[in-house]
Every structure is written in structure tokens, then in C-alpha cells.
């Protein structure tokens, strides 16, 4: 198949996800401006950081006057899921040049990863097909994210207050969270991360998200290790 046809397949595969991405981008843009972020910075963050959850967490912290180092640390902790994606998709990118790999990595998102991995695992594709499929899917999402956040930034001031539109943000995270809670260890990670962030609100420098999320990961890993003790029953039996 031609590169164009491969890319179009990727575009088609990612399209349903745009229904979730576009409202998310609009809410980010509206919220960023509403919380006092200059419009150019809000839009630039979409292009430079290009990671929605991290961008929203950063806007929240900047609005509260958190130190720059804590905001950056929070962005990094929220994005700690990316090395996991990178590791699992890396074998499929092996045939590409470093420059291509770096470009594809920049375009990586939760949705592009999910769509591409399914395609790669279900079919034995040529490297060229894999590359253009990923570009088609990931670049489509990139364009949708930039356009929706810019639209949000531009209309931000005109959105009537009192609609509680900011509530769409935790709702979006909720839809990503639910499928990630499968089994006791991930439930522990969620409870420690979620409750811990609230309990730690009074910690200095707004570090509660970073601390609570890392504690949640540590607690879940500890539980998993205990459960996988060779003297115990195999994991995954639900007991």
C-alpha cells in the first residue's frame, strides 16, 4: 500500500477518539485563560508539552502560585506513563531512523499508542506501513488538540460563568482512570494517589500530587510483589 493509504488508515482508526479529545482541548483552553494564563503561553504549552492531563495539572498549580520546579515535577509525574508506552511500542519502531523515532515519540499520546499497538499486534505489518499508520493516527490527534485548545483559549472569556464547565476535566480523567483500575494493586494505587493528594493539601509548595501519586505507585508495587510471592497462589486468581 502507499504511504498515503497507510496514513489514512491511521486517521480512520483514531477518529472516534476525537470525540473525547476535542472537548478536553476546549476545556483546557477555556480553563487556562480563566485561571490567568496568558493566551500565548496556554497555546504554546499545547505544542511544546503536548500532554493534556499534565497541561491541566500545570494550569491548576500555576493558578495557585506553586513554584516553577513543583509545576515541572508534577508535569513529569503525570507523564510517567509514557516510558511504559515507549517500552511496549519500541520493538515496532526498531527499523526506523533515530530522527523518525524521535518524531514519532513526540507525537505519542494515550490514544495513538492504543490504536497503533492494536494494529501492530493484530497484523504483521511492513515497517513503512507501521510508520505511516502511526503518523496518520498521531498527527490527526495532534492537529485536533492544537485546534481545540486554541479555540478554547479564544472563546475562554466568552464562556458564561456558573456552568461549572471545569467539571468536565475530572470527568475526562475519570474515563481514563476507570479502565486502569483492574485488580487490588491498581485500586490501592488509585486510593493512595487520590485520597493522599487531598490529605496532603497543606504540604508546602503544592507537592501533594507528586508525593501522593508516587506513594500510590510504591504501595501498589509492594502489594503486587507480596501477592506474587512464590509461596502464594499465582496472581490473577482474584483471591
Amino acid at each position: 500500500m502507499s504511504a498515503r493509504a497507510d496514513a489514512l488508515d491511521g486517521v480512520r482508526a483514531i477518529s472516534p477518539f476525537l470525540l473525547g479529545v476535542v472537548p478536553f482541548g476546549l476545556v483546557y483552553g477555556v480553563t487556562a485563560v480563566d485561571r490567568g494564563l496568558p493566551p500565548t503561553v496556554a497555546a504554546a504549552m499545547s505544542a511544546v508539552v503536548f500532554a493534556g492531563a499534565a497541561q491541566l495539572a500545570a494550569v491548576e498549580l500555576l493558578a495557585r502560585g506553586a513554584p516553577a520546579a513543583v509545576v515541572v515535577a508534577t508535569i513529569l509525574v503525570v507523564n510517567l506513563r509514557y516510558p511504559m508506552y515507549a517500552a511496549s511500542i519500541a520493538p515496532h519502531f526498531r527499523a526506523f531512523s533515530s530522527r523518525w523515532r524521535a518524531f514519532l515519540a513526540y507525537l505519542m499520546t494515550d490514544q495513538a499508542y492504543a490504536v497503533a499497538l492494536v494494529d501492530y499486534q493484530e497484523h504483521d505489518r511492513s515497517p513503512s506501513r507501521r510508520k505511516w499508520y502511526f503518523v496518520g493516527a498521531a498527527a490527526t490527534l495532534w492537529v485536533a488538540w492544537q485546534l481545540s485548545t486554541i479555540t478554547g483559549v479564544l472563546v475562554g472569556a466568552q464562556v458564561p460563568p456558573g456552568l461549572s464547565l471545569e467539571f468536565a476535566i475530572p470527568l475526562t480523567f475519570l474515563t481514563l482512570l476507570v479502565p486502569n483500575v483492574k485488580g487490588a494493586p491498581s485500586a490501592v494505587a488509585a486510593v493512595v494517589g487520590g485520597v493522599g493528594t487531598v490529605v496532603g493539601t497543606n504540604l508546602p509548595y503544592d507537592v501533594s500530587l507528586v508525593v501522593a501519586a508516587l506513594l500510590g505507585v510504591v504501595a501498589a508495587t509492594a502489594l503486587e510483589v507480596t501477592r506474587n510471592d512464590p509461596n502464594d497462589a499465582p496472581a490473577g486468581d482474584g483471591s
Binding site: A44, R81, A90, Y106, I169, L174, S186
Partner: protein, 112 residues
């Protein structure tokens, strides 16, 4: 918003470079590292659950910093609205459906 423009741009730049490093990590070095260390992989598996919950929970209750050790936490109608939305998310895994149900639930609870 108390940060100056220079600080904001610094945050965008550092956050962007750091995010790219995380995204590129195993993709770019794959020539040398074939597999992520199993211990690290196991820990990273729990990152989405911990981080996403850390983003959701503070946004569905009223949290006020205090001078004591623990903050003041109060009820918000966002809590039951989010619980209902979580049920929809669990059943459908559909983002627009979850947002729609959650927003409608919140508006209804606020209007009561």
C-alpha cells in the same frame, strides 16, 4: 496567577523537554535496551491509576488549605455526580457519554 512571564515560559520549556524525554526514552534507545527492566515496568503499570485518581479526587470535593496538618474537606455536589459518571465510564468507557452524564447530574443537583 503569581508567576511572571519568564517563569511561565521556563515551565513550558522544561515541562516540554522533560515530557519528550519520557516519551522518547525507550523508543530512541531501543538499539541498546531491548526491554524495560521488569521491576520498573511493574511499577510504571500503576502510574496511570495513581496519577489519574490524584487529578480526579481533589476536583470533586471542596478542599481548603488550613493552618493545621490536615486540610478542611467539605462535600460538593460534584462528588455524587462524579460517582454516577464513574459508573457510566465503567459500563461504557465512552468519554462523551461520561462527560454528558456527569455534567447533567451536576447541573441537576445544583438546581435542586
Amino acid at each position: 496567577m503569581t508567576a511572571g512571564d519568564a517563569t511561565l515560559w521556563l515551565v513550558v520549556l522544561a515541562g516540554g523537554l522533560g515530557t519528550f524525554a519520557l516519551k522518547a526514552s525507550f523508543v530512541v534507545v531501543v538499539g541498546r535496551v531491548d526491554e524495560i527492566p521488569p521491576g520498573l515496568e511493574r511499577a510504571l503499570e500503576f502510574v496511570p491509576a495513581a496519577v489519574l485518581a490524584a487529578l480526579v479526587v481533589p476536583a470533586v470535593v471542596v478542599v481548603e488549605p488550613t493552618a493545621t496538618v490536615l486540610p478542611a474537606v467539605a462535600y460538593s455536589p460534584k462528588l455524587p455526580a462524579a460517582a454516577l459518571a464513574a459508573l457510566v465510564a465503567w459500563k461504557t468507557e465512552n468519554v462523551p457519554a461520561t462527560i454528558t452524564v456527569g455534567m447533567l447530574a451536576l447541573w441537576t443537583l445544583e438546581a435542586l
